[in-house]
Symmetry: C3
Subunit: 307 residues, 3 copies
């Protein structure tokens, strides 16, 4: 169903495809946990082009490719690339396409993923293009919810923090509508979820609530997805300091929240989740990062047609 | 014939060796296209030391090594190397020679390839040393001509652009004399092919013509090898702007050229070949880059004695 | 005996463990020299996190992992890492721990190795943490002495140069006490071995002599371990220039030293060993660097429990 395709954005997926990806991830997770030597992609080359550095995402993709038996060629920063010599992205991709069987790319410019995919004959995966899309993050988010909660439907999910600029919450919000969950958006007034997105989610049948009352939202949520509020978003430093505190999740916040609440975060975190939450059993953010490897194994294998 | 040898420059090759390299490249190209898992270099380590960044060449070598089943260890920029601590190149190479079975190196200083090869017990491949040599580029160039034209002899080849500083045209020019082709050198007066090279080519029996008339040259050429004219070569910016236009290849240039002309370029290109040429069937520059992987597979395998 | 453990510092090792590591290194050295394809770690991932660049050590670890059949994911410099986004080391490690089966880390901060090991479920190897420890260097040093001299006991070893700041001599000194060797510390007054270390070595039964007479020390030494005296350690440039000369080993120094003296150096060297020593048969520093690969193979395999 996905053989030979490109992964560009979240809107491209049908529920059937999402289920296939998650089931394939679960299949590989089991084989890795049993320490099987997997050779499904033996003899294949995966190019990981990170023209914007992202250690976490790059290592996750490289580990995924290696665990499938593929080999990796890699660009870890734009500084060392031909891009610096004035070459167009299209030319760079056409060249790498001659060396590799799958191309993974992160790029600082919104829309660059589509341009790259258009010039690659081999399958292409968008690992983040500027403020655009980061579909593999949203895929690992729903895979984590499915694993942590058993099912993907019927939850109340609070999205907390910077909902205006956080591309991960935009992508995950879309998936949540596919799986019939209620969403609560909790943010400072200036960082609310963009209205067109809220309208789009509602048109797809999602029940949505918006508030700036963190405590009340968490008291009725099965899941909270935390994002960082960055100082740079505020012109008024005092305003930032005042707000910041109310959006920090600590053990006290958890104690007042709905029992069993699952805490997610795309990482890296700075101080928006206190480290005293780390040993709470519902703190799933490191398992979430770990799940990224299985999702990426699933995508690489499905696009290559080896599974 | 090449087992255990070093690749330093183009002048070292006999025709017999060139034919062996190209035949071996063709052999590997066929196996890769049939998606065979190749293990000819399984268990071997290839060190790719790029003390001067070059994404294209590095990825091409790393892909070649991986496709042969070898493993790669890699330095992508000088910044992270011991060279920064004042170590001599000889010492760096002697150390890496203890970790690897083949060493590939790009280095900004002319002559560094020979120094490195002298201190490595294992086979060494020069991937470019300053304004010196870049023999694997010239090898992929002739392999491309052989593939595009069927034979390597009897063509009229125009070299276009900066023939003074372009090391690729110097190396390819030498190979062209081995295979009895006519060469036309087309460049601005200030960027002509160095006289000693022209004299050397002629002494080897090559027929050579020099001109600055692009249109006329292309009307009788089977192949045109385009290189970039860099602004930095001119003290007079107006002079550069005036000249630049006449050395740009676009679809209109192709229409006026000899029918079936093959267009080559070492890449990256900036604007010296217009993108409207890309879908012309004789535009071979991306296939040319792709061929680099097969040539490098051939060299790695031949020097290691596994083929 | 070492399965699942972490390698943090030299003081953690018993003699029994050191012997196991060296015997395992010898076992792998033999298999590599016989060009065996080793698959002991097939299917496993080794993460090499070099938040402080060190080409030599990184390539040595990566080569070791690859020669065991493992795959490598790698960070070659801090610039491209999430650390730059304000993430704690603990969080970085917990994330990478989800991708890899063994973690190797170099970090500029003393004490960071312990923090990292505490947050990794998988085995962790300290590849140098600031002015703290660099245990794999000391292990390759004693492995080299054992190989060069046949046994590890009963030698007179001179440590030469900067004994105050050189962490390698501190670690190796500790190992030397375990194997009953006499040590001579030769350094400028301002760069003497720290007194607490000398006292500690003595309390373990070591015979120690301190002097600034290089010639006399070498006339009775079986081994000399040379380190660099860095200009930055001196406030008085004239003082540095005066001293420097007496601590340089050249062929003349060797001629006056005890016959058969073995010359070691952790590399990179600048000018503290003259290149005219390189072809002296007791000059073991490049073999020493080479031995690092076998020691690292042994550690990776032992911690993973595959040998």
């Amino acid at each position: 169903m996905l053989k030979g395709k490109d992964i560009i954005n979240t809107a491209q997926f049908s529920r059937k495809e999402l289920d296939l990806i998650m089931n394939t991830a679960a299949h590989y997770e089991q084989r890795v946990r049993r320490q099987k030597v997997i050779k499904d992609m033996e003899g294949k080359i995966v190019a990981c082009l990170f023209f914007e550095p992202s250690t976490r995402t790059r290592l996750s993709f490289e580990s995924a490719a290696n665990r499938l038996g593929a080999r990796v060629i890699s660009v870890a920063s734009a500084a060392s690339s031909s891009v610096a010599k004035g070459e167009s992205l299209a030319d760079t991709i056409r060249t790498v396409d001659g060396y590799a069987d799958v191309i993974v790319m992160r790029h600082p410019e919104t829309g660059s993923a589509q341009i790259a995919a258009d010039h690659a004959l081999h399958p292409f995966i968008n690992a983040g293009d500027g403020s655009g899309q980061h579909p593999t993050q949203a895929l690992l988010d729903i895979y984590t919810i499915r694993k942590e909660k058993g099912v993907l439907e019927g939850h109340t999910v609070t999205f907390l923090g910077d909902l205006k600029y956080g591309r991960t919450v935009h992508s995950l919000g879309y998936f949540m509508t596919l799986y019939k969950n209620k969403m609560i958006f909790v943010s400072p007034k200036s960082l609310r979820m963009p209205e067109d997105l809220t309208a789009d989610f509602r048109s797809r049948g999602a029940e949505i609530e918006e508030t700036d009352n963190v405590t009340e939202a968490l008291s009725k949520s099965d899941i909270v997805y935390v994002t960082r509020i960055q100082r740079e978003r505020f012109t008024d430093a005092a305003e930032y300091e005042k707000l910041k505190g109310s959006y920090i999740i600590d053990r006290n916040t958890i104690n007042k929240a709905k029992k069993g609440i699952t805490v997610l975060h795309p990482l890296p975190r700075v101080d928006e989740i206190s480290t005293d939450v780390d040993d709470y059993e519902g703190a799933a953010y490191f398992r979430q990062a770990h799940n990224g490897m299985y999702i990426r194994m699933a995508l690489l294998a499905l696009l290559s047609g080896v599974v």
